[in-house]
């Protein structure tokens, strides 16, 4: 049972991640590969606020959201000028810088040894210290984040993002401030993924930089690509598939020595097949270019 609850918590965390990434990729047409860096920033800022300043979970998450939102300028400002492959290169650079900071700023992050003893969340004196309570807390948090994202994407702001994705110059010629829309989209997406990062840090109680590498960014992208972009369902389906698939593969009789590689091969094959046969993803409406 605990195993299933553990999976559910991971699913909640990745639901927030994929919804935030879908906001950028599926609606804004901005292929971001630095998402793991912002996930890490959220986790580290919340963890440090709780460990060093003794803050509660909610103020710590608030700080993580603000810091990630401000640091999102590192990708949103270049997005004013760079498009397509060049923008991917910029976000790749931001991912590398983010990871290097977490790894090498030893005084603050404890470098490769990471941070331990991160407390569980508590509200009005009630501590979510059992796995059942954490599951409930994570599910409610994910539900609220999804609700906010859905409201945003269904609003005129979401429509503006779609217009920007379809034809930015046409949108600008209609008087739309697409630069501001990009800035807002990155700020919101990075803030949301910082919430997911904080949730992750408080659940596992220990974080180190290896959880926020480029591989993690690629896993996040895979979830969105497999599930599909441009609607609300796609990322939810993607997160569900890529969280449950490795767990299902555990039940397949693969020798331990090659199990990890076989899983990676299956991921790769899945992505190639998806790109060929269903480029809009399992449940998506927008075909990524």
């Amino acid at each position: 049972m605990n195993y299933l609850l553990h999976l559910l918590i991971y699913l909640d965390i990745y639901l927030i991640v994929t919804m935030s990434l879908n906001l950028l990729m599926g609606y804004g047409g901005l292929l971001q590969v630095a998402h793991a860096a912002y996930y890490g920033i959220g986790a580290y800022v919340a963890a440090l606020a709780m460990l060093k300043f003794g803050w509660g979970f909610f103020p710590a998450v608030g700080l993580a959201v603000v810091v990630a939102g401000i640091l999102s300028l590192a990708v949103s400002l270049p997005a004013w000028r760079f498009r397509g492959d060049y923008f991917v290169m910029v976000s790749l650079a931001v991912q590398s810088v983010g990871y290097s900071l977490l790894y090498n700023w030893v005084d603050l992050t404890n470098g490769p040894f990471g941070l331990t003893g991160i407390p569980r969340p508590s509200i009005f004196g009630y501590e979510f210290d059992t796995i059942g309570a954490v599951t409930l807390f994570a599910s409610v948090t994910a539900g609220m984040c999804i609700l906010c994202t859905v409201l945003l994407l269904k609003s005129p702001w979401g429509r503006l993002l779609k217009a920007m994705r379809d034809d930015e110059l046409a949108a600008r010629s209609l008087g739309k401030n697409t630069r501001m829309a990009k800035l807002q989209a990155f700020m919101l997406a990075c803030a949301l993924v910082a919430v997911a990062g904080s949730l992750y840090a408080t659940y596992v109680s220990y974080i180190d930089p290896t959880s926020f590498t480029l591989d993690e960014s690629i896993l996040m992208l895979s979830m969105v690509i497999v599930g599909g972009t441009g609607n609300i369902r796609g990322p939810l389906v993607g997160a569900l598939i890529l969280i449950t698939l490795p767990e299902l593969l555990r039940f397949v009789q693969i020798p331990d020595a090659v199990a990890a590689n076989v899983r990676l091969m299956i991921y790769g094959l899945l992505l190639v097949l998806m790109a060929h046969f269903r480029p809009q993803g399992v449940s998506g409406t927008y075909r990524l270019q």
Binding site: P156, K162, D166, A170, L174, N177, A181
Partner: protein, 516 residues
């Protein structure tokens, strides 16, 4: 940068009234690309309710001027005064370096749109993943819901605003005859409907000056009439100021509506009223297509027309002695699908050597699909294509070209990053030369105007026994149209076969005028 006119107070009442009518004025506008001067010290004024036809030869700078006036391109020198709204805005060039540091003072498309300037693009640029209604609602100015904080916290206000904008957009679209297509996806409506949506979108965005780049191109007779009727209504009832760039074929139609004609030539701009412009030699521009077909057939030949299903007309110019010429191309029971839609269903046609056949069809009938299928660019589901006695329907496009076909597609299929000279090297020999491209071999194709691109594509066509031409005259100026028509006539004289597709003009007054 933003200046309120101090001299306004010194004007007389008459001057002031006249000045109040001016919505846009330009002084000394200049623009050069890589040393080539496109616009040289241009000045003009545009008054409220004026309808201007902007014309000029290919490469004369029409699109450049449009790009400058809509904030998509900065001139090298000059001034622009916008006074659509109550406050007057002035932009001057060249700019000081420190002016570029002010993030709120940039000359950008969105800033110019806020001044009440709208643009309808030649390639339309609707948002294809949205519905017709959403395309128009989106363009409503100053939407509170476009602020994410408001979108989350003021749901009631946002919903009310949306309802208001939808109602307004619905009214525009209804008046354009699109009331039943409100919820259709914009990539699933016809070209004429797309053009009308684009105009409605610009008007909903608050445009008081509307720049339209070839709004009639590619439209059939019905489409032309619909768009012109709507533009007329916008001018008469809403007092919009309109500047139209239009292809030579459609100029006579636009002159009915225009009050002023701007002509760009050699970097300069001439402003005339419509009567004067009609008296000038340019008003005769355009190819009289059906007279030309008679010329192609020659005095002893004949021109035969027959109507097919779906409003399609096939007209063949048969010069004397070619009545029983060998068959060059025979298409039998051709079925072509695009996705799930069957575009051509058992289509048959027979073309003989030394003859020119013109296919005129309404937009969306599938003329480009037919030519694509004959040339092998698009696979046919069934049917037979026999070219010079050989079955070719199983051959790839390059093999069909090797067998003696030459295909001009209707879209601007140039390679943007390659220069003119590189394009010419890619081609397998030039069939016709317009002249200007030979001097500008170093220029990249993406810097060429629409007409120059069309000329380059025509120049790249290899010499062949059969020419498949999809809207070959589109974008060409009158001189180039005549030059190319003469070349094609020579080809027919040389026993070549030409199959040409054009939009039908049955219901257009242009047909009555003998032009297309």
């Amino acid at each position: 940068m933003t200046t309120r006119f101090a001299e306004e107070e010194l004007m007389s009442d008459t001057e002031k009234a006249s000045q109040d009518d001016v919505v846009l004025s330009a002084r000394g506008l200049s623009k050069a690309f890589g040393g080539q001067i496109v616009l040289n010290d241009i000045s003009f004024t545009l008054k409220r309710g004026e309808v201007v036809l902007l014309r000029g030869e290919n490469g004369s700078g029409k699109t450049t001027l449009l790009n400058i006036l809509t904030g998509n391109l900065k001139p090298d020198a000059g001034e622009l005064h916008f006074s659509v709204n109550s406050a007057r805005e002035v932009f001057r060039w060249p700019r000081r370096w420190w002016q570029n540091l002010n993030p709120f003072d940039h000359f950008t498309p969105e800033r110019i749109a806020w001044e009440g300037v709208g643009r309808v693009w030649q390639d339309i640029r609707l948002f294809p993943t949205m519905t017709v209604l959403d395309n128009v609602v989106l363009s409503s100015p100053k939407q509170a819901g476009e602020n994410p904080v408001m979108a989350l916290l003021r749901l009631g206000r946002i919903n009310k605003e949306e309802l208001y904008n939808e109602e307004k957009a619905g009214r525009w679209l209804n008046s354009l005859g699109l009331g039943e297509r409100l919820h259709s996806s914009c990539d699933k409506i016809s070209l004429g409907q797309m053009k009308r949506v684009a105009i409605a979108r610009a008007v909903q965005a608050g445009a008081k000056i509307l720049f339209l780049d070839e709004p009639l191109s590619g439209l059939d007779g019905v489409g032309v009439a619909e768009v012109m009727r709507y533009l007329d209504a916008l001018v008469r009832t809403d007092g919009l100021t309109i500047v139209l760039v239009e292809h030579v074929f459609n100029i006579p139609r636009v002159l009915d509506l225009a009050t002023t004609v701007w002509t760009l030539a050699d970097g300069g701009l001439t402003v005339e009223n419509t009567e004067a412009a009609q008296r000038s030699p340019r008003s005769d521009e355009g190819l009289r297509l059906h007279s030309w077909l008679n010329e192609v057939a020659g005095p002893d030949g004949k021109v035969v027309s027959r109507d097919l299903r779906g409003g399609v007309r096939l007209t063949t110019a048969i010069p004397k002695g070619t009545e029983d010429a060998p068959v060059a191309l025979e298409v039998t029971d051709l079925v072509v699908r695009r996705g799930y839609r069957t575009v051509l269903d058992r289509f048959s046609i027979c073309l003989r050597k030394g003859q020119l056949t013109l296919l005129e069809s309404p937009n969306g009938w599938g003329k480009s699909t037919l030519l694509d299928a004959i040339a092998g660019v698009l696979p046919a589901q069934s049917g037979e294509i026999v070219f010079n006695g050989d079955q070719i329907h199983a051959l790839a496009a390059n093999r069909r070209i090797e067998k003696g076909m030459s295909y001009l597609r209707s879209r601007e299929a140039v390679f943007g990053s390659l220069s003119i000279a590189e394009h010419q090297k890619l081609s397998r020999g030039t069939s016709v030369t317009f002249g200007e491209n030979s001097h500008n071999g170093h220029i990249k194709a993406n810097l060429l105007s629409g007409g120059q691109r069309q000329k380059l594509l025509i120049e790249m066509l290899p010499k062949a026994g059969m020419y498949l031409l999809d809207e070959p005259f589109i974008g060409l100026d009158s001189h180039s149209v005549s030059q190319y028509a003469e070349y094609l006539q020579q080809q027919i004289g040389g026993n070549k076969t030409i199959f040409m597709a054009m939009p039908e003009t049955t219901n257009s007054p242009l047909r009555d005028m003998g032009g297309i």
